[in-house]
Amino acid sequence: MVTGHGRIERIVRLWLPVGFFLVLALFPFYWMAITSIKPNAELYNKSVMPLIVHAPTLKHYVDLLSNTSFLVWTWNTMLVAMVATAISLVLGAMLAYPLARMRFAGAGLIAMTVAAIYLVPQPLLFIPLADVINRLDLGNTLTSVILTYPTMLVPFCAWLLLGYFKTVPKELEEAARIDGASRLQTMRQIFLPLCTPGFISAGIFAFTLSQNEFLYALIFLTKSAVRTVPVGVIAELIRGDVFYWGQLMAGALLGSIPVALIYSFFVEHYVAGLTSGSVKG
């Protein structure tokens, strides 16, 4: 039975701290959302109480979609994220499968190398990479980022998949081998279908990391028609000292929705991957 004393203790021990963290985590998104539906007269009037919307309007969304290339950026972002994720899952699995299942000379070294590459942050590589992209004449093409995003995503997917592959029991594969299946057949027809959850987990992470990428996109994509959402929003809605706050917040909100949506569908996979101790913060 909950006594009055117990209820107060529960408020202090549970709801006060959890509530604090929730408000802290969510307020910027609340502020983003209400800014995006406030008319300018309200946004830039200091005598109006700011925490609620008095006269909601969709004007910023209309302006964003009609005056900027936001839809093009969204399409670019999706395309790049999907292709880069697909490439990374395939190449990542090609690294992870031998490391998880085979015994061969150099396996330890390869595993170390993959882990180390996974931890190399982009700012260490962006200057030489910019020059490489220039020499390949890939500046201002989506190919430039489709090629470079997997440099972070392949080691990442390989590492996450390696962890998953090791948890799959070997018996089915051994049975298939005894029945005369080749190694490639065993891998493709027996093993990989068993690993679907691992691929979903790695795929979601790779997809959100692609959506989040900024530095390479900023350097390689300087024309509006090829930009991704983060770069488009920063480069084209902040012009000199003029900020279009309503449109900026509308763009930030719309740009966050695909990731948030995918995340909400697969949140358990996401948390499982996150807590397996192999995801960057």
Binding site: L22, F104, A130, P230, S256
Partner: protein, 288 residues
């Protein structure tokens, strides 16, 4: 059949991804070292100058400012994330309704593209219309409130807080998973032995969480140390280089001033510290 030998099969399968990584990580890495030894204006051929770029860095007061900034930023943000994340994990390690929903919501700052949430913070700290300041003033702070991104010290504090805001859920949820693996019997035994709340935390929780804390912290340190986007959006390294980090300064020199060689040398200045961290974490990940 030859293909059926484990070694042959493995190396054949790994060749495409390894070639890819060699071409787009290995080569650029080595080429970056070469660039740092060149005077290399953008769109011109480079000339070899030995260690001149690094000597220029060492004599550059901004470079030293950037070094100090990067260490302060990394140290303070990591400490805040660690302590805050531990508090978050302990608060969440209780049973209540809609716990999974709350956990999902708490992770949002970590999920949403950093640049987009950082723009929201930029607006929240706007010099004229900052909602943070309007709330402070409403609670009696003298008008107009702090100049969050205009004052050098406050700007550093601001980027540390916002980096913490973004990274804290990752810490919290990972540590929460760690807490849930601690068997309740250990706490019961400690209680029977007369341990109080603090002692249970100090002698049961903390030692058992240490491996997870270590691995999360190494991850966090590496990517805070090399942070770019948050600072680029909020301050561009200003005011007066007060928030300039290695990554943003290297970007300014290479992309802004077009000095690829000098920029590469600034980026490579991160390497000793990063290499240490990466080697430590790689060894640790291999063991675990």
């Amino acid at each position: 059949m030859l293909l059926d030998r484990e070694g042959v099969f493995s190396w054949l399968m790994m060749t495409p991804p390894l070639l890819f990584l060699a071409a787009l990580v290995g080569y650029p890495f080595l080429y970056g070292i070469l660039l740092s030894l060149q005077d290399r204006p953008v769109a011109h051929a480079g000339t070899f100058v030995g260690l001149k770029n690094f000597m220029t860095d060492l004599r550059d007061p901004i470079f030293w400012r950037v070094t100090v900034n990067t260490f302060i930023y990394t140290g303070a943000a990591t400490l805040l994330k660690m302590v805050g994340g531990l508090c978050l994990a302990i608060a969440m390690n209780q049973n209540f309704r809609m716990k999974n929903l709350v956990r999902a919501l708490l992770l949002l700052p970590f999920i949403v593209p950093t640049v987009l949430s950082t723009v929201a913070w930029l607006w929240m700290l706007d010099p004229a219309f900052s909602v943070v300041n309007r709330l402070l003033v409403a609670f009696g702070w003298p008008k107009p409130g702090p100049s969050w991104l205009g004052n050098p010290t406050l700007a550093m504090i601001s980027i540390i807080i916002i980096n913490t805001w973004r990274g804290l859920p990752f810490y919290g949820i990972t540590l929460l998973a760690g807490l849930q693996t601690i068997p309740p019997e250990l706490y019961e035994a400690a209680t029977i032995d007369g341990a109080g709340g603090w002692q249970r935390f100090r002698f049961v929780t903390l030692p058992l969480l240490r491996p997870i804390i270590l691995i999360v912290t190494l991850f966090s340190v590496i990517f805070t140390f090399a942070d770019f986007q948050l600072v680029y959006v909020l301050t561009h390294g200003g005011p007066q280089n007060a928030t300039n980090l290695f990554a943003t300064y290297a970007f300014d020199i290479a992309m802004g001033a077009g000095q690829l060689g000098l920029g590469a040398s600034v980026a490579l200045a991160m390497l000793p510290a990063l290499a240490l961290l990466i080697v430590a974490l790689t060894i640790y990940m291999r063991r675990g």
